[in-house]
């Protein structure tokens, strides 16, 4: 294609390779995204922070509710966030029982639950909880950065959050949880 030299002009050479470079960056970026194991957990940022103040009413009549003061009693607590309507909670129940059997202090926070349903759930799945607080509007859940059920937090004797476990605790994870509990006390 011939052009009068006066009006002809070219794009700088580096600019011509720019699209390819940008595209290569895009491919690298999404390839990294595809290869990374998918992880939709949203970890709480409250690890290492003191448990916020809260006081939950008793979720079942035969047990006290849960407040911040109950957790900062010099011993490490396992705070299990669960609900009777949550299927994986039932799946992790044996592991919670096992943890209790090995000396862990376990407190529960029941999310959006009816006392009757909860009583049934405890009768069916075992009842290792010392206290169960009822969180009907996810207030404590939001305050500690938890986004679902089940989740389990380790709170040390001073009431500091030490660990968050997202999802159900599997049998092989029990020793790890125990070790972390020991570290926290």
């Amino acid at each position: 294609m011939s052009e009068p030299a006066a009006s002809a002009w070219r794009t700088a050479r580096w600019a011509l390779w720019l699209p390819l470079v940008l595209f290569a960056l895009f491919v690298a970026l999404v390839l990294g995204g595809l290869l990374r194991p998918e992880n939709r957990d949203i970890p709480s940022r409250m690890i290492g922070q003191p448990m916020p103040a809260f006081a939950l009413r008793a979720a079942v009549p035969d047990r006290p509710g849960l407040a911040r003061g109950d957790l900062a009693d010099g011993r490490a607590h396992l705070v299990n966030i669960f609900a009777s309507w949550c299927i994986p909670c039932g799946v992790e129940a044996p592991q919670i029982a096992q943890l209790a059997a090995q000396g862990a202090i376990i407190d529960g926070i029941a999310i959006r639950d009816h006392p009757e349903d909860l009583a049934q759930y405890l009768a069916r799945n075992g009842d290792p909880y010392q206290r169960i607080g009822a969180d009907d509007i996810s207030a404590v859940q939001l305050a500690i950065g938890s986004s679902g059920v089940p989740e389990t937090f380790i709170v040390d004797g001073k009431g500091i959050i030490r660990y968050q476990h997202i999802g159900d605790i599997r049998p092989e994870e029990v020793p790890m949880i125990l070790a972390r509990l020991k570290d926290a006390s």
Binding site: A8, W17, A24, V30, R36
Partner: protein, 650 residues
């Protein structure tokens, strides 16, 4: 039998695509190669064969042949026929088959009718089309065969996602696909032009109608998609800057830029390398969009048929296709000069500005959409949403709209603003009036306010190119531009009104309660169970009155599908000239009241009305171009015929 027949047609089409690529490549090296002459007919037959394969799949879905795995997994015998047919593309394999079908048909159509470019460029173009198609054929045949059988066939199918069981949504994917994949033609033209170095006004004039066609479908697809999201999601929002929405917006932005740069290239032989680049980018955005949607790499409300493994395959495909096109561009574009220069104040100047702004918006949308992926590589999760996209795109949208008001009035090459200042007066006056009105109404400063002030002026400005012209003799293409630009103003006004004036009411109402929302009085008069072919629902009966006028009956539903089991809300909308009442029935509360969500959205339908006007503008422009071409062909044939007769007489 039909499934095997379809598969055979697909294999044949794939083989022909290979032949088309080979023939095109040979023709580039040796123009007299015999295979070169076969490229056009092969492209036509390939298009027909893949269309036959697609028709076979549609037929299988139509008769719910459960021995075909895809049908068993995505259909159900108790579904209305229209949704059985729509099930064809409501899944991964079917939608990929639709993709190659559109590519094949578009290629065949180009091969059949396009005669304006040098034959060598045409062959290279068709080879490019075959090159891209081949990847998708391979994907279908080796990794996602839509015709695979299931033995033994199940007694019943698993059904189609109820959210897709909506008359509008059923045809949304094919519309968008015609746009997405139609841009493959622009891509192939760009490849062809780069191969033969024939980048000039003829290239732009040839490419323009094809881009325009794809762009019309994209515009319609996005407009309709936004409307369906609006009534389907049940929360009154019409654009969420969700990754899937962005994936459809990006090719549209690129195609819009391409349309305008084509005009510069066609009229003034400038912006050559840039136009070629946009041709590549537009289709690349279609493929990237498809990849983002299909791989599930970004979470979306509109996600369906997501599969990361297939995502990897699509990524490989697009890396090969786009990568090789960009290498070709980098190597060849250096020999393509950019052509004529021009003054800033000129039609080209305005169009270049428009291109820079559209490309920058595209850049912002792309960066914002992908950014969460980037931070995740560093172990941080972030969300990028409306609070980022709205102001950041506005940085470019507002100047672009201002130039849109002036650009069409300017002359090519060089002009003076003083010459057009008389035409700018009416829009300025109207905008000033709008500003006074907006201030009087107490609209708070912000983007909606900018939109409310800008839109009326823009609407008037978009009409100004008609001033002093003989309306009946005005080319259709000019009408198209005027209508499309006016459509932008109309849509903008609707968006701004929705943001500035919408009122929302969330209430729990007993039967008989009256609720006021905006100028409306809404009475919940009853709740009734109703049933459809594959669902049951609770239907609320609302009697609504506008400013105490006659009662209008509205019936929002809470619907439960049983195949597959799923609950959806079906909102009820009432449209008036000045807005829309949007009603949703929620759940029953413990004390026997019913949750109602009500919105009064003044002028909100203008958003989609504007979108359709934009598409209509495209249709007018396309009709104008095609008619002009046809007229030219007729004249040429007449001259040829006369010569022939004269020759005979002599």
């Amino acid at each position: 039998m039909l499934a095997e027949f379809g598969l055979a047609a697909l294999w044949l089409a794939a083989a022909l695509a290979a032949l088309q690529l080979l023939g095109g490549a040979m023709a580039v090296r040796d123009p007299d190669n015999a295979l070169g002459a076969a490229v056009r007919p092969v492209a036509v037959v390939q298009g027909l064969l893949v269309a036959i394969a697609f028709a076979a799949l549609v037929a299988l879905f139509g008769q719910t042949d459960l021995s075909v795995k895809l049908v068993a997994e995505n259909s159900h015998s108790a579904k209305p026929l229209i949704y059985k047919l729509a099930g064809t593309w409501g899944n991964h394999e079917g939608s990929m088959l639709l993709w190659v079908t559109v590519m094949g048909l578009a290629g065949g159509f180009v091969a059949l009718v396009e005669r304006r470019l040098p034959e060598a460029t045409m062959r290279a173009t068709l080879a490019g089309q075959a090159f891209v198609s081949l990847g998708f054929y391979g994907f279908l045949l080796f990794a996602s065969n839509p015709f695979a059988r299931l033995s033994p066939p199940p007694a019943e199918g698993q059904g189609l996602n109820p959210l897709l069981q909506d008359p509008g949504l059923a045809f949304h994917p094919p519309t968008l696909y015609l746009g997405y994949v139609g841009l493959s033609i622009a891509f192939s033209f760009a490849i062809g032009a780069l191969v033969t170095r024939e980048v000039g006004p003829a290239f732009a004039r040839t490419m323009r109608p094809w881009v325009l066609g794809a762009w019309i479908f994209l515009t319609l697809g996005i407009t309709a998609g936004s409307y369906w999201a609006y009534y389907d999601l049940g929360w009154g929002g019409w654009w969420f800057w969700d990754p899937v929405e962005n994936a459809s917006l990006m090719p549209w932005l690129a195609a819009t830029a391409l349309l305008h740069s084509c005009s510069v290239l066609a009229a003034r032989n400038a912006l050559r390398a840039w136009t070629v680049m946009l041709g590549v980018v537009a289709f690349s955005m279609s493929m990237i969009g498809t990849f983002l949607v299909r791989s599930g790499i970004l979470t979306s409300v509109h996600a369906f048929a997501v599969d990361p493994r297939r995502g990897t395959f699509i990524l490989a495909l697009l890396a090969i296709n786009i990568g090789s096109a960009l290498v070709l561009f980098a190597l060849r574009a250096a020999t393509v000069t950019e052509g004529e220069r021009f003054a800033v104040t000129s039609r080209e100047g305005a169009l270049v500005f428009n291109n820079v702004m559209l490309s920058s918006i595209l850049g912002i949308v792309l960066i914002g959409t992908l950014y969460p992926l980037f931070t995740e590589a560093f172990g941080e999760k972030v969300s990028v949403g409306p609070p980022y996209f709205n102001p950041m795109t506005a940085i470019f949208v507002v100047p672009m709209l201002l130039v849109l008001a002036v650009g069409p009035l300017l002359r090519w090459r060089r002009d003076r603003l003083a010459r057009v200042q008389l035409s700018l007066l009416p829009p300025l006056v109207v905008s000033a009036g709008a500003l006074v009105a907006v201030l009087a109404l107490g609209v708070r400063p912000g983007l909606p306010m900018v939109g409310l002030v800008l839109a009326p002026g823009l609407a008037v400005a978009s009409m100004m190119p008609l001033r002093g012209r003989h309306l009946r003799r005005l080319p259709l293409a000019v009408w198209g531009m005027v209508v499309a630009h006016a459509g932008i103003a109309v849509a903008l006004f609707g968006m701004a009104c929705d943001s500035a004036f919408s009122t929302e009411k969330l209430v729990a109402a007993h039967i008989g309660d009256v609720v006021a929302v905006g100028p409306w009085q809404v009475t919940l008069s009853g709740i009734e169970p109703v049933a459809g072919a594959n669902w049951t629902a609770l239907e609320g009966e609302l009697l609504v009155r506008y400013e105490g006028g006659d009662a209008i009956r509205m019936t929002p539903q809470a619907r439960s599908f049983w195949a597959p089991p799923q609950n959806t809300t079906v909102s009820a909308l009432h449209t008036r000239w000045n807005g829309q009442l949007y009603t949703v029935l929620g759940e029953e509360t413990e004390d026997g009241r019913w949750q109602l969500r009500l919105w009064w959205k003044p002028f909100v339908p203008l958003i989609w009305g504007g979108g359709f006007l934009v598409a209509l503008g495209g249709v007018l422009a396309l009709a104008g171009r095609v008619l002009a071409d046809l007229r030219r062909i007729v004249v040429r044939d007449k001259i040829a015929w006369r010569r022939l007769r004269q020759g005979r007489r002599a």
